[in-house]
């Protein structure tokens, strides 16, 4: 079996769950992965043992204090063995994987959603088509979350490599998000509102459900363009964020192709819209034809009793 290298996804100081999915992707490629954990404290890597992976390398370096693409790529490249490089398709990991690939003079295939032997499938044209490519030789790939099953955990066989890189940029300040709520790009459940919400104030009804479920609140482009109070950072769609959550609840969103492009690969989609002919219903696993004013309180109380 040939070798591969997984760049672990680290969030809030611990190895994120998607890393276990990357192990399954490595196995689907017929490779045995080494999990590489970029960190400032090697104990982070203790949680990065998986059935099917041969070893775990904690790459410990000062450069990992803040994100700096150049130094991260240099340190990871120096510490990682050769083989196919596998990362999560998060904005940061796609970025660092692209640099590691370029450093090694190999190609990269981003946003993989299926692996069949050496053939990899990714969405193109924002999901309006799918493209399958064949790899010959080592490449880097990034894999979307919620596509592959999570590999089972096992005790990690961690070796620590002290390896930093020259930091090329200087962080002046970190501006914490005003809201404590999750960003749509980080959430497993997203509830989004469109222009059908009538006013930006009505997004508070979505926030209430989001708080109950631990979800993020998103918005359609129409809502972002119409109301200054709804920031672009909430926008899901072709010119906003592409999301891939377990559950996406679209409220008062008609389902423009622009919006579908950003959320159509969500595992389950719920649509709430008073217009029975809204295009969003063609993509919904569960559609509710009703006004949001009537529907959201019912959803909220049902979810509340489930979460209690």
């Amino acid at each position: 079996m040939s070798e591969s290298v997984i760049i672990a996804e680290v969030n809030k100081g611990s190895v994120a769950a998607v890393t276990a999915e990357l192990v399954s992707a490595a196995l689907a490629l017929g490779t045995t992965p080494t999990v590489v954990v970029p960190c400032t404290d090697a104990s982070v890597a203790d949680g990065a043992g998986y059935e099917g992976s041969s070893k775990t390398i904690a790459v410990k370096g000062d450069c990992f204090t803040n994100y700096d693409a150049a130094s991260w790529a240099a340190a990871i490249d120096a510490a990682a063995p050769s083989g196919i490089i596998i990362a999560a398709a998060s904005p940061q990991s796609k970025d660092v994987a692209a640099r590691v690939a370029a450093r090694r003079g190999i190609s990269i295939v981003q946003d993989v959603v299926a692996i069949n032997g050496n053939n990899l499938t990714s969405p193109i044209y924002s999901g309006k088509a799918m493209q399958t490519v064949a790899l010959s030789g080592d490449s880097a790939i990034s894999v979307r979350a919620n596509v592959f099953p999570a590999a089972a955990s096992s005790a990690a066989n961690v070796s620590v490599v002290d390896q930093s890189g020259d930091v090329a940029t200087a962080v002046q300040e970190i501006i914490a998000r005003a809201s404590t709520r999750l960003d749509v790009s980080e959430a497993n459940i997203i509830i989004s509102g469109g222009r059908g919400m009538g006013s930006p104030d009505n997004f508070s009804h979505l926030e209430k459900i989001a708080d109950t479920l631990g979800a993020a609140v998103g918005a359609s482009r129409a809502a972002v363009d119409t109301w200054d109070e709804i920031p672009h950072s909430m926008q899901v769609g072709q010119t906003g964020k592409t999301v891939n959550p377990n559950l996406y609840i679209a409220v008062g969103i008609s389902g423009a192709i622009q919006h579908l492009a950003g959320m159509r690969s969500s595992k389950y989609i719920v649509a709430v819209n008073k217009d029975a002919d809204a295009p969003i219903f063609a993509h919904a696993d569960y559609g509710i034809v009703a006004t949001w004013e009537e529907t959201l309180p019912v959803l909220e109380s049902a979810f509340s009793s489930m979460m209690a």
């Binding site: 190609s107 990269i108 309006k128 790899l135 501006i175 559609g287």
Partner: protein, 247 residues
């Protein structure tokens, strides 16, 4: 005074319907435009020039079909327009594209490169960081703001918020929409663009190791369940827990 390059790519209009025929997308009927995020890169490059002087060159990779997006960039206000191409190229993978662009950028003597965070066709976002690595430069991706008073400071998303990052040396900056408002071409710009000459440069590209097998329509989703009336929300919540297992 900085020699600034902005990378632009010709892509189908994002409102275009993508037709698949014979396992390849058929783009013969689409309208072609500058990839939307590249417009924010053009804006950032022009603001950089306005603050620090220098020149802005728009660079694309492609056959002569791609001249139109260069002229569109010229109409918006870039100074020079350059296309890199080699007639031996057909389907290039990311390694080949980044190598060719890096050679062209080095050949033009640039110190700063702006690009869109992703192109509207592949959505990959590999070109900015990949080109930076090949040039040995810094990179900051997905920026939402840029300021050029006393050095280049950009705002980029980080876990839990955003970071203001200062960039001192040569760098590739990829741009998100953020708070940037793009300028539109004026009549004078459009007239100048008509007369502008595209400089064509050549480069070498390594053989591609990633080859396209097929392009297909997205998988059709099985028909969902549709309910009438708000009281069904309780049933949907139950299904999300018991059938979909996502709550």
């Amino acid at each position: 005074m900085p020699n600034i390059i902005v990378l632009v790519k010709r892509v189908p209009d994002t409102n275009a319907r993508i037709v698949v025929s014979g396992e390849r997308v058929d783009l013969s009927a689409v309208k072609w435009v500058i990839s939307p995020y590249d417009e924010f890169a053009i804006e950032a490059a022009l603001q950089h020039k306005e603050a620090a002087g220098g020149t802005v060159t728009a660079l694309t990779l492609g056959p002569s079909d791609a001249d139109k997006v260069l002229k569109d960039a010229k109409a918006i206000g870039v100074d020079e327009i350059v296309r890199v191409w080699n007639d031996s190229w057909s389907e290039l993978d990311s390694n080949a594209i980044q190598s060719a662009l890096a050679q062209a950028i080095a050949g033009l003597g640039a110190e700063m490169v702006y690009c869109g965070k992703t192109a509207a066709d592949t959505g990959a976002g590999s070109t900015g960081p990949g080109v930076a690595e090949r040039l040995g430069w810094a990179s900051v991706s997905n920026i939402t703001e840029a300021s050029f008073d006393g050095g280049t400071i950009v705002t980029a998303p980080v876990e839990g918020g955003s970071a203001r990052v200062s960039v001192s040396g040569n760098a590739v900056i990829s741009c998100d929409k953020g708070n940037m408002k793009v300028r539109k071409p004026n009549v004078k710009g459009i007239m100048m663009a008509k007369r502008a000459q595209v400089s064509v440069v050549s480069a070498d590209a390594p053989a591609s190791t990633v080859t396209i097998v097929s392009q297909t329509p997205p998988p059709a989703k099985p028909a969902g369940k549709k309910f009438e009336g708000s009281s069904s929300a309780e049933e949907v919540a139950r299904l999300l827990r018991d059938e979909a297992n996502v709550i």
